[in-house]
């Protein structure tokens, strides 16, 4: 429980850094921090394979892509803040309202008890067994989606000859 609160406070602080910090490189590093903390939360929730995937795919591949793009395109300098002061305060208040409302809704609808799960819950074998039997069609469609994304990214980033 203490571990959960410690992680939660760190995660909220990192998320706020992502959104608030003026320089995008620090936002990216804070986002990597947030992703690692979410991976630890996955381990707390017995989702082992997803924790590995979170570190490898999200923090390891997607964020490296972000860092490449930031380092390529940061010749502009830092962003000059988020605009007029009144809008920033309004955004903070509306964000707070949204957070309170979502928390109240989600906490009210949650189950009171947590199910007992076998020790094979969340392991690579059981997730793979589900993925390749019951959810085979979305799996194959996702591979087609990745192919489309690769082709699209190459076409978009190609220099117009």
């Amino acid at each position: 429980m203490i571990l959960f609160f410690f992680l939660a406070i760190l995660m909220v602080a990192s998320a706020l850094t992502v959104v608030v910090h003026r320089r995008p490189i620090y936002s990216a590093l804070a986002l990597i921090n947030t992703l690692f903390l979410i991976a630890v939360m996955f381990v707390l929730l017995d989702a082992q394979l997803l924790a590995y995937l979170q570190v490898i795919v999200y923090a390891g591949a997607i964020m490296v892509l972000f860092l490449f793009v930031i380092m390529l395109l940061s010749l502009e300098g830092e962003e000059r803040g988020t605009g007029r002061l009144g809008l920033r305060g309004l955004a903070a208040i509306s964000g707070l309202v949204l957070a309170i409302e979502l928390s109240a809704l989600s906490a009210a609808g949650a189950r009171a008890s947590v199910a007992q799960v076998p020790s094979s819950y969340g392991t690579t074998e059981s997730l793979a067994e589900r993925l390749f039997t019951r959810h085979l069609l979305p799996f194959e469609l996702t591979s087609v989606l990745l192919l489309v994304a690769i082709v699209g990214a190459v076409v978009m980033a190609r220099r117009k000859a």
């Binding site: 959104v19 997803l50 972000f66 962003e79 964000g95 928390s103 993925l131 978009m156």
Partner: protein, 101 residues
């Protein structure tokens, strides 16, 4: 497991709203994209928490697909940002207001 699932859901809601405010407020398009990734991760946390609470692993399968789609979307979105920057030389969302240069 002594942490109630509603704590995880509340944390997910807070991270989601932080990401949503980031998408709305920031002008740098890369930071807007990072806010989108924050929202996706908050939803992933919520899915995994509810999957654990109900004992079914379908929530984890959903998270698997969300991660894959997020990776594809990040690649294509960053390629679009790069192509946009090559023409307009700006990362300011306020200045990217025409569909065509």
């Amino acid at each position: 497991m002594e942490v109630p699932i509603s704590y995880y859901l509340t944390l997910s809601a807070i991270i989601f709203s932080i990401g949503a405010v980031g998408v709305l407020v920031r002008r740098n398009v890369i930071v807007v994209f990072m806010g989108i990734e924050l929202m996706l991760n908050a939803v992933n946390l919520s899915f995994v928490a509810l999957a654990r609470a109900s004992g079914s692993m379908d929530g984890e399968v959903i998270v698997f697909f969300v991660m894959t789609v997020a990776a594809a979307e990040a690649a294509v979105g960053l390629a679009i940002i790069l192509a946009n920057f090559a023409q307009r030389r700006t990362l300011n969302a306020d200045e990217i207001d025409l569909l065509r240069w």
